[in-house]
Symmetry: C2
Subunit: 148 residues, 2 copies
Amino acid sequence: MKQVDTDDITSLILEVFRLNGALTAAGDRLVGDLGLSSARWQVMGAVALAPAPLTVPGIARDMGLTRQSVRRVVRELVSEGILALEPNRAHRRSHLVVLTRRGARLYSEASARQRPWAAALAQDVPARSLVLATNLVRTLRERLEEST
Amino acid sequence: MKQVDTDDITSLILEVFRLNGALTAAGDRLVGDLGLSSARWQVMGAVALAPAPLTVPGIARDMGLTRQSVRRVVRELVSEGILALEPNRAHRRSHLVVLTRRGARLYSEASARQRPWAAALAQDVPARSLVLATNLVRTLRERLEEST
DNA sequence: TAGCAAATGACAGCATGCTGTCAATTCGTA
DNA sequence: TACGAATTGACAGCATGCTGTCATTTGCTA
């Protein structure tokens, strides 16, 4: 029987809202004792995984956030010695963001915790299902960003 | 070719973060001129679609948020004449939240806008794909909430 | 029925993300 | 090369969601 109140796309939207909240909370719990959070961890991930050092607006573009949101997190992490700013030959004011040695250690530890956590979360879910869902979510997100 | 940096479940997680942001922004744009927002609209939806009137903690449970987050939005909407609080026979302090006539009108207008918007967003996506993705997202969310 | 645990409202404070504004810098193009 | 548009950092303020705390009310159970 079909739902009367919400159609298929609306159901997906509401579930995405709830999963987002649950993921953020779980991430906060997973790395909270390291002095990290979901938001900090994600910024560090963008820095750690980029093929070349990024600027603050570059991180924001990578994450789909505004440069101002990223800016505040980056400044906090810099003030705590987790990230550092390096001169940028391509731009006098916009520095490159890199992990300090301490930041790299913390990110390693977070990654080590994330691997078994993610494996447990996805247990018994076929990889193909994950990929299909990811592609659908990406398609919807791209459509929304186009219409901006 | 497989990604080297992130596995399938991590890719899905990152896309869910981005879709969440894009959906919230799109919702804000869609109903902003009505004096609404994604958050306000969702609370009104929980109230409008509930089979029986809900309390603030009831709305929070329905949405997967804390009662304190919902409480502030509800108080704002009450102060603006969009929601109203009614006596609750089952609990002296915890009132029932209902839409005012004005709130119902606004919710109608928001729904009228949402229908074509949602249809366009899901255009050419098979209903079956939406349902499969929704079920997967729900499964992941439930696993995360269990482990709390 | 008495008492204790859970639920609830209220208040306070914090984290995360957004917008708007302004000056400095960079970049494309005429 | 010079000018105008786009990018960027900085500052300010707001919306949304969270946690912690405390008193009140409910509800379960011994």
